[in-house]
């Protein structure tokens, strides 16, 4: 519709290119961490992750097999072998037999050895030394090769972080703890809020407008204010620091948004259905359970996603209400912050730990994006 007056094609190109640039800019940091989590310590500290995506050139010095292992084939003494391990995919570009001329030969060429005999190296790294007399000496011939290596990645970091690592860098238990915090903290506020939202949307009573205003107000109250009073309260009534406390805190902090979102959605449901049900003698409880809840599924899903992402990603509430001095109940975000402090240089562990923690929200995000967007649109105070 914008093309009524005819689009300038140069402008269209500019639009495509600038969107591409923005997307690249937004994606680049995350991709960097993702790629780094598949690299070894050495690889990470010796070069930027963007280089690891392309084949890299390396100068290698390798000794051929020692003369002890030579074999005699039809009057020729031969030492044969591979420069590289079977699982390494190197390709030889140039090679040589002296440190002063490491690029003397190309693969497939045959060179003369100082001590007599010839040597040839193939591109795949197969070498063959031939001599009419037996090779002397103990040590094998040195071969200098310039080789390209394809990008190389490893799953070892994930294995370390999830299963085998020391307890201070283990994300396995922290993962379970996070899950334990998240699921009750997502389900319980939905139920509590849904009933309240129904009352605020479809029941008539004095003070309704005031209560809605209170919910809107509480929507923006910073949870920083709640930290000390509630910690005091939890300590006083004996909950202390632990799962129960963090579940209750998350429930309380999530309620304003839940009530607000669900009420806004329920108010928009068709009036006729509800009034017909009332006329037919359904009680409010029946209307709520049999009509409103199923019809509100999209809003319930939206809030569930919000609450899940927020509790999964939370650091502050867990630090204040959950994690005690023993550190048994630490969650992933807290683990990562600790690692940032103590092992700020260990990028392979940090990157992997961060990605373990990010992966679940990312899956939820891409799978349920539709509901998330819908919830955002309904939830921003108009």
């Amino acid at each position: 519709m914008d093309n009524i007056a005819g689009q300038k094609s140069s402008l269209t190109w500019a639009v495509h290119l600038s969107v591409l640039a923005l997307v690249a800019l937004w994606l680049f940091p995350t991709v960097g961490l993702f790629v780094s989590s598949f690299r070894t310590t050495d690889q990470i500290v010796t070069g930027g992750w963007w280089k690891s995506l392309f084949p890299s050139e390396q100068n290698l010095t390798i000794r051929a097999d020692s003369p002890e292992n030579q074999i005699e084939v039809g009057g020729l003494y031969v030492i044969e072998g591979e420069l590289f391990d079977a699982d390494q995919e190197f390709e030889v570009l140039v090679w040589g037999t002296s440190s002063r001329a490491i690029d003397a030969y190309t693969p497939g060429e045959t060179g003369e050895l100082n001590k007599g005999g010839t040597i040839s190296v193939t591109a795949e790294g197969h070498y063959r030394l031939e001599n009419t007399e037996p090779f002397a000496g103990k040590r094998g011939q040195r071969i200098f090769a310039t080789a390209v290596t394809p990008p190389e990645f490893t799953f070892n970091n994930y294995k370390t972080v999830l299963f085998t690592g020391a307890s201070s860098e283990s994300m396995g238990s922290a993962f379970l703890n996070t899950l334990t915090v998240t699921i009750p903290a997502t389900i319980i506020p939905i139920l509590v809020a849904a009933f309240a939202a129904y009352a605020l949307a479809w029941m008539d009573f004095p003070g309704r407008a005031l209560l809605i205003a209170i919910v809107v107000g509480l929507l923006v109250v910073p949870l920083q204010l709640a930290l000390i009073p509630l910690l005091k309260l939890h300590l006083a009534i004996g909950i202390g620091k632990g799962y129960l406390g963090v579940w209750m805190a998350h429930t309380g902090f999530g309620l304003p948004l839940a009530i607000y979102l669900l009420r806004n959605y329920m108010v928009g449901l068709p009036k006729d259905i509800i009034e017909n049900a009332r006329v037919d003698g359904a009680t409010d409880f029946q209307i709520f359970v049999k009509l409103i809840l199923p019809l509100s599924f999209p809003a319930l899903a939206s809030f569930a996603i919000f609450q899940f992402l927020w509790t999964w990603n939370d650091l502050l509430v867990a630090k204040v209400f959950l994690i005690d001095a023993t550190g048994q109940t630490t969650v992933m975000t807290n683990r990562i912050v600790e690692m940032l402090g103590t092992r700020g240089g260990n990028w392979e562990i940090l990157a992997t730990a961060a990605f373990v923690s990010i992966s679940v929200p990312l899956i939820v995000f891409f799978a349920l994006q539709k509901y998330l967007v819908r919830g955002l649109l309904a939830g921003s105070v108009k």
Partner: protein, 335 residues
């Protein structure tokens, strides 16, 4: 008991408890307290219907009062007291505030918070609007939007790690592994810079993280608003000879002004509460302190509940105008 088992238990108790409460309280109301039969049936039904909303509301509002409303007043009270040994409290008037205002760290936090408030909402909304407009008319716009929206799902701590890698610094003789320094050297910088320890400017490197996250939020809302603009207004403008930029700035932007304000204020609130990014990346060192982290410091490191509460009240004070504005808007809308 194993925590996971405890979790399953809690879900079960929570769900059964909630449903049970609502169901039983309704049954009690209808059958025992005000039965819809007998001589006073009509009056009883009316009474029951007047009480029922409060049954529905009670658990939610009890939790809201306990977890959000009461703490506001309790924090206010604590900010006026000092904690004495043996769990006693002493009223000290405005002493905590006076003490706080005398600290340079507090003013540093205030200055940084103001910087964040100026830069982050503006940049996020601006980028969001740009992306929303650009992706509006291209075919792969939805994919682009979803990728720019993605950081919303990433925790602030995760984002801090991601960006710390971007800002990483290696000694001059080594290859740089942080993108920013690699680019800086590539374009002729002589020595790598430790970005996060550069006073004043390091604030902007921390802000970049939040902008990166919030742009997706702004984009989603503004994109929906752009789609909601009546097409006739744009058609009319084009027929009158308006160029694409004029259409955007003079026709589209004025029509979504209200949505822009909403996005702006929502991000403003997120900025006021920003904690994780600073805590994980610099922990307030090198002059990057912000109020929320200052407060956390006072509470759990210095163990000073008085000043901690006082700084929380400052955050509350900064949020209050938006709170009032939101409540007024919501009330107007309901009329």
């Amino acid at each position: 008991m194993h925590p996971a088992l405890l979790g399953v238990f809690t879900i079960a108790i929570g769900v059964v408890g909630c449903v049970g409460y609502f169901y039983l309280s309704n049954v009690f109301l209808d059958k025992v307290l005000f039965p819809a039969s007998g001589p006073k049936a009509g009056r009883n039904i009316n009474m029951a219907n007047q009480i029922r909303p409060w049954l529905f509301l009670f658990p939610a509002f009890f939790a809201l009062t306990l977890y959000l409303a009461y703490p506001v007043f309790e924090t206010l009270r604590l900010s006026l007291t000092d904690r004495l040994p043996g769990n006693r409290y002493e009223f000290v008037g405005l002493d905590n505030y006076r003490q706080m205002f005398a600290e340079t760290k507090f003013w540093e936090s205030m200055r940084n918070n103001m910087l964040w408030l100026l830069v982050v909402p503006a940049a996020s909304t601006g980028f969001g609007l740009l992306v929303a407009q650009l992706t509006d008319r291209i075919k792969w716009g939805n994919i682009a939007k979803s990728l720019i929206f993605m950081p919303m799902a990433i925790s602030l701590v995760g984002a801090a790690v991601i960006w710390k890698l971007v800002y990483d610094t290696r000694p001059i003789e080594q290859d740089q592994i942080g993108v920013l320094n690699a680019l800086y050297i590539f374009f002729g910088g002589d020595a790598p810079i430790t970005w996060l320890t550069m006073p004043f400017w390091n604030n902007f490197f921390l802000m970049a993280v939040l902008i990166w996250i919030q742009t997706g939020f702004a984009m989603v809302i503004l994109s929906a608003a752009l789609r909601g603009i009546p097409e006739e207004t744009i058609e009319a403008a084009i027929i009158d000879g308006a160029g694409p930029f004029q259409v955007f700035f003079k026709i589209k932007v004025p029509q979504i002004k209200n949505t822009i304000v909403v996005v702006w204020t929502t991000i403003t609130i997120a900025v006021l509460k920003v904690f994780d990014i600073v805590f994980a990346m610099t922990n307030g060192q090198w002059e990057t302190q912000v109020l929320a982290n200052y407060m956390f410091d006072k509470l759990f490191r210095a163990n000073d509940w008085g000043i901690g509460s006082a700084s929380a009240m400052i955050i509350m004070l900064l949020v209050t105008p938006i709170l009032v504005w939101n409540v007024r808007n919501a009330r107007n809308e309901m009329r």
